[in-house]
């Protein structure tokens, strides 16, 4: 039952016509296939260039902590009670994606939709196919704002630590769930994403959730991201012909 609901909630036009356009600058093997184990490209300033289309892992959609033992997710008592209730599917229709609202972070990496990173000198931009939302990560040296406007994707600044791009985000609106299980995210969240492009086709993403309101201490997961070559983002308009919500549980 649970997996059926999960599949309905994320249904999308995968059968749609893909845009086949060879990605420029991809190293290729003699047979013309992308050489995904070639070295990671670098920008003019010598930093790894994360630009490209990537996909995360669907495995974490149901449970962001899928690779952790249950006791490694340090839920506050109220949050543990909430997850127990949400996992029963009694609240499925309260999830933001079920209402065509953004799935939030880091959940945007746990969907089957690709995303595109564009690394520019003062700002890195991420375009997510899921809900067609963008995200700006400022790298011009500014600090995180003191009192940001709460928003679905928060306010992000990035910096380099060696070859790792470290993105700090605050200012979440607390309306999203980290996963379908219902791990909560409150407005107190400070999210840290550490991107390390190991080679041309593979990137490690380490995510640390520091949300003292919902968890007794910060916790970290690691997800592998894969490069997606020779295609483009498609338009995803959730509000178009939406039929799922009426079939989900909750108020």
């Amino acid at each position: 039952m649970k997996s059926v609901v999960a599949v309905i909630a994320i249904s999308m036009p995968l059968a749609a016509q893909w845009l086949n356009f060879p990605t420029k600058g991809i190293p290729r093997t003699p047979d013309g296939k992308p050489n995904l184990s070639a070295p990671a490209p670098k920008t003019a300033d010598g930093k790894p260039d994360l630009s490209g289309m990537w996909e995360g892992n669907f495995k974490y959609l149901a449970n962001l902590a899928a690779d952790l033992k249950p006791e490694e997710v340090p839920l506050q008592p109220w949050a543990a009670a909430l997850v127990k209730e949400r996992v029963s599917l009694a609240h499925a229709r309260e999830e933001s994606p079920a209402n065509c609202l953004p799935s939030g972070l880091p959940r945007l990496y746990s969907t089957p939709f690709p995303y595109k990173i564009l690394q520019n000198p003062a700002m890195t931009i991420i375009l997510y196919e899921n809900f067609g939302v963008y995200r700006q990560i400022f790298t011009d040296g500014r600090e995180l704002p003191k009192d940001p406007q709460p928003s679905w994707l928060g306010y992000s600044v990035g910096k380099w630590e060696g070859d790792t791009f470290v993105v700090d985000t605050i200012g979440f609106n607390g309306k999203t769930w980290l996963d379908q299980m219902g791990h909560p995210q409150t407005e107190a969240t400070h999210l840290t994403e550490r991107f390390r492009r190991r080679d041309f086709g593979h990137m490690e993403l380490q995510i640390t959730v520091d949300d003292p309101k919902a968890y007794t201490k910060p916790w970290t997961v690691r997800q592998d991201q894969r490069l997606v070559a020779d295609t483009e983002l498609l338009e995803m308009v959730c509000a178009e012909n939406e039929k799922d919500l009426a079939h989900l549980g909750g108020k």
Partner: protein, 265 residues
Amino acid sequence: MFVAIVLAVISAPLSAQWLHYPTAGVPKTPSGLPNLGAPAPRTADGKPDLSGIWEAENRIHDAGGAAGNPTELPISLELINIAASLKEGLPYQPWAAALVKQRSAGIGKDYPHSRCVPPGVPEIDVLPEFRKIVQTPGLLLMLQEFNASYRQIFTDGRPLPMDPNPSWNGYSIGHWEGDTLVVETAGFRDDLWLDVNGDPLTSAAKVTERFRRLNFGNMEIEVTVDDPKAYTRPWTIKLHHYLVLNTELLDYICLENEKDIAHLK
């Protein structure tokens, strides 16, 4: 009544807390004010740089007040009627003329944008929310406050696809003609609205936008709609955009706490 509905549909949280952060690289007058009449900046390859946060010229400032439904959001004439500046109106095919009559009789209730779907092109050029242009080699990006959405314009020399997936925003490519960025878009759905009036756009359409940054603070967008299915000949309008300084984009997620749709039946 009509105006009231329109304003309800496009209301946005303009009173929200703005993000104050000085825009880098703005030329100043001797008195220290931004010099918006300074020449347009250029990228390393010598082309005009269209990058920046822009807003559409908005001449309807008090319509909401007059209708007893005050709004903080000035809107553009073209959002209501894309052909507001054309004295002779639009060269409709007969079926299109009949459709517009029917759609406008519905005082905007079937307007797709009121269901929070994308506005499409060129309506995206007349929305009241800010948008940021980020010009990079090979790709020009438009980041829109509306639905925190984006539009990609490929400038890497690729052609328009032969059989694109029909979409709300189409598929866009751009090239430079002198100092003008010429953006061509095709691959639209067959049932689009160009404005609240219901002027149609079909899958046969090709829309050409010619972006010209006149100086630091002003941009002109000349839009030509060539849609032989809906119109007997191509037609052209001119839009004006202003640079917006020292702020940032805010999320405007249209479906969040949405209360209008129930009243549009």
